[in-house]
């Protein structure tokens, strides 16, 4: 971790009204190193799942993207505070990139198990990608999904930032 990327990530979080993520982290002062570690782990996961074409989650990439699509970076940074699983961050980014949400299965048994399974697919060809989590915190991610109907059928479309404040 370079001190520069730590500073830039902190500024990015503050600019996106996510100061709480830094201030409320336990143990105090460890938010930025932990989040950078999560981004790094997401890159590894992305390469494992998608090969060399998988996205690389660097602070520079997020800064560059925020100049074109600030709302997408805001949504992604909010997800950074919503999940502890690198795989889920890859999934979020793939939705932001334009992947369709083809299927979501969620099962839950009180004090026993939680499972979230999302299948994404390309809008242009049949290339499904499956993402799974057993961490109940990841139920938070569902709040960001766009909701619409097509021919009276349900459609989740896109991943959006929640309103701050």
């Amino acid at each position: 971790m370079s001190s520069n990327s730590a500073e830039v990530l902190e500024k990015l979080l503050r600019d996106n009204e996510l100061k709480w993520l830094i201030d409320w982290w336990l143990p105090p002062g460890q938010a930025i190193p932990a989040l950078l570690g999560l981004l790094n782990a997401a890159t590894k996961e992305s390469r494992r799942l998608l090969g060399s074409s998988g996205p690389e989650f660097t602070v520079d990439m997020l800064v560059n993207e925020s100049q074109q699509n600030a709302h997408k970076v805001k949504a992604f940074l909010q997800a950074l505070g919503d999940t502890r699983k690198p795989e889920m961050l890859v999934m979020v980014w793939r939705i932001l990139q334009g992947m369709r949400i083809q299927a979501i299965d969620m099962s839950y048994q009180e004090r026993n198990h939680f499972r979230l399974r999302c299948v994404l697919n390309s809008p242009y060809e049949n290339k499904p990608e499956t993402y799974e989590s057993s961490d109940i915190v990841d139920a938070m991610l569902l709040r960001h999904l766009g909701i619409m109907e097509m021919d009276n059928g349900p459609v989740f479309e896109g991943f959006y930032p929640l309103r701050s404040g």
Binding site: W20, Q30, N69, H71, G98, P123, M148, S164, G165
Partner: protein, 278 residues
């Protein structure tokens, strides 16, 4: 303001008006936005007597239209009612079919058709203004929409970028081969993922490449009205406009867009979570 800055890009001295050449048109266009009502009125009548005199259209009318639409899109603080008056006059103006105009698209077509086509490009802006807080602007926007034709939806949107994004994705569901055009620059991309959504002030979405070619070749053809949707994000609202609202295929798309915006999906608040351990 960008539109005013761009006034000098037009060779006004070569464009015809009722009294000769259009050298004074840029000054009158700028005057239309003056905080001084007298200046605005004087500018309006100057334009009204030069580019469209007693319903007769002159060449400069065509070149004035993009600026008028741009003033409205930018929600200028003064003169929007007068801008609508001028657009209305131009839309109802006439010119003999033999009077031709070299358009910005590069084709030579009758002046009347060129003006009609150019006014139609502002449809999403007029539809947005039918809900304007200023009753005069609201009324005049409605009048112009009635004349131009077309329909649309206007929904509240907390984040205009996110709302635009959602509309683009919803349209792509129906039109997987959609082509997206930055309405201000004319730049087109085939893929949603290539878009810089945050930098778009207005977007045209074409059904596919074929529709783009058809629009380029026959931009005034009414039969193409169901193959393009105009999207106009603005602070606090999102407008989607179509030229053929009776067409079932585009109506379905509008309905799909309307649901998430009407349930205010993009305005859900975050919650400050419990302290989180790394």
């Amino acid at each position: 303001m960008q539109a005013v800055d761009n006034l000098s890009r037009i060779a006004w001295g070569e464009k015809a008006v009722a009294s000769g050449k259009a050298d004074k048109v840029p000054q009158a266009l700028a005057g239309l936005l003056s905080p001084d009502e007298q200046v605005r009125n004087r500018s309006y009548w100057q334009l009204d007597n030069e580019v469209v005199l007693q319903s007769d259209l002159y060449e400069a009318a065509y070149f004035v239209i993009p600026f008028l639409v741009s003033f409205l899109r930018d929600h200028v603080p003064y003169g929007r009612d007068r801008v609508y008056d001028l657009l209305y006059e131009i839309t109802n103006g006439e010119a003999p079919p033999t009077v031709m105009c070299r358009t910005t698209e590069g084709d030579g077509i009758p002046l009347k058709a060129a003006c009609t086509r150019e006014v139609k490009k502002g449809l999403a802006v007029y539809i947005r203004d039918t809900k304007d807080a200023d009753p005069l602007v609201k009324q005049k926007a409605k009048q112009l929409v009635d004349v131009v034709g077309g329909e649309g939806i206007i929904c509240p949107a907390g984040s205009s970028d996110a709302a635009l994004d959602l509309c683009l994705r919803a349209i792509r569901r129906y039109w997987p081969q959609a082509v997206f055009e930055n309405a201000l620059t004319g730049e087109r991309v085939d893929r949603y993922e290539s878009l810089s959504v945050g930098l778009l002030a207005e977007v045209l979405v074409y059904q596919n490449r074929q529709a783009v070619h058809e629009w380029d070749k026959h931009p005034s053809s009414p039969s193409l009205g169901n193959s393009v949707i105009r999207l106009l994000p603005a602070q606090g609202s999102m407008t989607a406009a179509v030229y053929e609202p009776a067409d079932q295929s585009v109506r379905k798309i509008l309905q799909s867009i309307e649901l998430p915006l009407k349930i205010d999906m993009l305005n859900r608040p975050t919650e400050t979570p419990e302290r989180r351990a790394a």
